[in-house]
C-alpha cells in the first residue's frame, strides 16, 4: 500500500481510494453475558473492498449486523460519513444507502427474480399511494424508470434467463447472485456482503469474485465483505480486518495481514482449509 493519508491511498493495482466512509470506534457487543465483539475499531474507505475475516464464531457476522443496524452495540460509536450514527432500525440504515446480503440467503421465495430485485428499489420510489392506486402519471413513469434500472442490473449479473422464475426454485449459487442483485438495485453507497461465496463450488466462486470486482470497478461501490475462504479474500480485498474471539488481531493489506504473527497463530495456522 502506498502512503495512507486523510484523503485516501492508492492501491497496489493503482485504484485511488477515497476518504473514510464508515468508521467503527471501540465497538463492544454483548448478548446477555456473552461478549461477541470486544472493543473493535476500524474504518472503511470510499471505493475500497474491505474484508473481515476470522474463524467461526469470531464475531464477523455480528460486526456486519452492527454496521447494518440489525444489532446495536452496548459501547462504541458508528460514524457514517463523519457523523455519529444514532441507534437505528435496519430499515433506516438501509435508507442511508447501506445495502446487504445474508450468510444464509434472505430472499422473498414467493416472488419472481424480477420482483425480488424490484424490492431493492422500494426506497427509490416516491410516488404517493393514491397515484399508484390509479396507476397514473408519475407513478407509471417511476415504475418504468425503476424497471429499467433493474433490467440493467439483471444484464450486469447475467441472470436474464431467470428473470421470471420464482426465487424459491433457483439453485443456491443463483440465489446468492439474485441477492446481490437486489442489494445492488438500491444503488448503495456501502455494500455489505455476508459470506458471498459460502457453499459455492470453485466455478461459482470465480463468477462471484468477478462480479464483486466489477461492481466495485464500474459503479465505484464501497464493499465490505465477510469471508471464510482466505484465498478469495486475499485476491479480492484491498484491506483486511482479522477477528478472533470477538477481538481484532490484525488490520492491513492482505500482504501485511498474511505476515502478521498473531494472525498466523490464531487463524491461518489453525483454521486454514
Amino acid at each position: 500500500m502506498n502512503a495512507m493519508t486523510q484523503d485516501g491511498y492508492v492501491t497496489a493495482d493503482g485504484r485511488q481510494i477515497g476518504p473514510v466512509v464508515m468508521e467503527l470506534k471501540n465497538i463492544t457487543l454483548r448478548f446477555g453475558g456473552v461478549v461477541a465483539i470486544k472493543d473493535i475499531s476500524f474504518d472503511i474507505r470510499q471505493g475500497e473492498i474491505r474484508a473481515i475475516i476470522g474463524p467461526n464464531g469470531a464475531g464477523k457476522s455480528s460486526m456486519l449486523n452492527v454496521i447494518s443496524g440489525f444489532y446495536h452495540p452496548q459501547d462504541g460509536q458508528v460514524i457514517f460519513k463523519g457523523q455519529p450514527r444514532p441507534a437505528m432500525k435496519p430499515y433506516q440504515v438501509a435508507r442511508l444507502g447501506i445495502a446487504r446480503t445474508f450468510q444464509n440467503i434472505a430472499l422473498f421465495d414467493g416472488m419472481s427474480v424480477l420482483d425480488n430485485i424490484m424490492t431493492g428499489r422500494l426506497n427509490k420510489m416516491k410516488a404517493g399511494f393514491l397515484s399508484q392506486a390509479i396507476w397514473w402519471g408519475a407513478a407509471e413513469r417511476e415504475e418504468n424508470e425503476n424497471r429499467a434500472a433493474v433490467e440493467r442490473i439483471i444484464d450486469f449479473l447475467e441472470i436474464q434467463n431467470i428473470r421470471k422464475t420464482p426465487v424459491g426454485r433457483l439453485p443456491y449459487g443463483l440465489k446468492k447472485r439474485v441477492e446481490l442483485a437486489r442489494a445492488l438495485a438500491a444503488e448503495p453507497n456501502l455494500l455489505l456482503l455476508d459470506e458471498p461465496m459460502a457453499g459455492m463450488n470453485v466455478e461459482e466462486k470465480e463468477d462471484m469474485s468477478r462480479f464483486i470486482l466489477s461492481v466495485n470497478d464500474e459503479f465505484g461501490t464501497t464493499i465490505c465483505l465477510i469471508e471464510h475462504d482466505m484465498g478469495v479474500v486475499m485476491d479480492l480485498s484491498d484491506r483486511v480486518v482479522v477477528m478472533d474471539y470477538g477481538k481484532k488481531i490484525g488490520d492491513g493489506t492482505p500482504a501485511e495481514v498474511r505476515s502478521n504473527q498473531a494472525v498466523i497463530d490464531a487463524y491461518l495456522g489453525v483454521a486454514h482449509d
Partner: protein, 274 residues
C-alpha cells in the same frame, strides 16, 4: 417469530363489531361518512395496538401474544359496550335486502320455480369481488403492496431493503380491519349489529383450515366450498340425519382436508426452519 403467530385475530373480529357500531355513536352521519370514519378509526386502532401492545411483546412466546390478543378483544368488546351499549342495532347502509324479484321471475319462467336469491348476497358478492380485485392490485402493483408481500415472505430481507416492519404491520392491520369492516357491515346488515358477530369466527376457522391460513385464494375458494358444501349436504343428507348439519359438516370437511393436505388447499408447505 413473535407477533404474527399470536395474532389469532379475535381482536380483528371485534374490530368488525367495533367498526360498524361507530355508526351509532350518538351522532347521526350519512352512511358513507360513517364508513369512512370507521375506516379511519381502524387505522388509528391498528396503530395503537401496534404501539401500545404488540411492540412490547415482540419476541415473546406465541401463547403470550395469543393471550394478549384475547385480552385486547375483551377490552374492545367492553369498550364497545360502554360506548354504544349491548343492544342490537339495526344497520342500514343502504344495501338492499330481500328476494330479488328479477331473478325470481326469470328463473320462474325457465324452470317453473322462481329461485330465491337475496339481494344482499348479490351485493356482497359484488363488493367482495371488488375488494379482492383491489387487494390483489394493491399487492401486485404498488410500492406498499410489494413491501407487504416482502414482509410476509422474509422479515430480515425486508428490513435489509429498507422496509419498516412497523409501518407494514400497521398497514396490514388497517387493511385487515377494513376487510373486517366490510364483512361486519354485511353480517351486521343481516342480523343487526351485536356482539354475537364475533361468533362468525367459528365459521371462519374451518374455512381457513380448508383454504390454508395464509392464502387469499384459499380463503375465497375455502369459503365457497364450505358454503356450497354445507348447503348441499343439509339439502341432501340433512333430512336423513335430523338436520342442522352445517357446522358439523364444515369442520368434518376441513378435518378430512387436513389429513391429506395439512397446509390447506393453497397453504404454503409447512417447513420448520431452524
Amino acid at each position: 417469530m413473535g407477533i404474527q403467530n399470536g395474532q389469532v385475530p379475535f381482536a380483528h373480529l371485534i374490530n368488525a363489531t367495533f367498526g360498524t357500531s361507530l355508526h351509532h355513536f350518538g351522532w347521526t352521519v350519512p352512511a358513507v361518512l360513517a364508513v369512512a370514519l370507521t375506516a379511519l378509526i381502524m387505522v388509528l386502532l391498528a396503530f395503537l395496538i401496534e404501539k401500545l401492545v404488540l411492540q412490547h411483546l415482540v419476541g415473546q412466546e406465541p401463547i403470550i401474544l395469543f393471550m394478549a390478543t384475547i385480552g385486547l378483544a375483551y377490552f374492545l368488546e367492553g369498550l364497545g359496550d360502554v360506548m354504544w351499549g349491548a343492544d342490537i342495532k339495526a344497520l342500514d347502509v343502504g344495501l338492499p335486502q330481500g328476494i330479488s324479484d328479477g331473478i325470481e321471475a326469470v328463473t320462474g319462467q325457465w324452470f317453473g320455480y322462481g329461485f330465491f336469491i337475496d339481494r344482499l348476497d348479490l351485493w356482497a358478492t359484488l363488493i367482495a369481488a371488488m375488494l379482492v380485485a383491489a387487494l390483489v392490485a394493491f399487492a401486485q402493483y404498488t410500492k406498499q403492496g410489494r413491501a407487504m408481500r416482502a414482509v410476509a415472505d422474509d422479515h430480515q430481507a425486508a428490513m435489509s431493503v429498507g422496509i419498516s416492519l412497523r409501518f407494514i404491520w400497521v398497514m396490514v392491520w388497517s387493511i385487515a380491519g377494513f376487510v373486517a369492516l366490510v364483512a361486519g357491515i354485511m353480517w351486521g346488515t343481516k342480523s343487526g349489529v351485536q356482539f354475537s358477530l364475533s361468533l362468525i369466527a367459528l365459521k371462519a376457522l374451518p374455512v381457513l383450515m380448508l383454504g390454508g391460513f395464509t392464502s387469499i385464494p384459499g380463503a375465497i375458494v375455502g369459503g365457497l366450498i364450505i358454503g356450497v358444501g354445507e348447503k348441499l349436504f343439509e339439502f341432501t343428507i340433512g333430512p336423513m340425519v335430523g338436520g342442522a348439519t352445517e357446522n358439523w359438516f364444515a369442520y368434518v370437511l376441513a378435518l378430512i382436508f387436513l389429513v391429506f393436505r395439512p397446509q390447506g388447499l393453497f397453504g404454503e408447505r409447512i417447513i420448520e426452519r431452524v
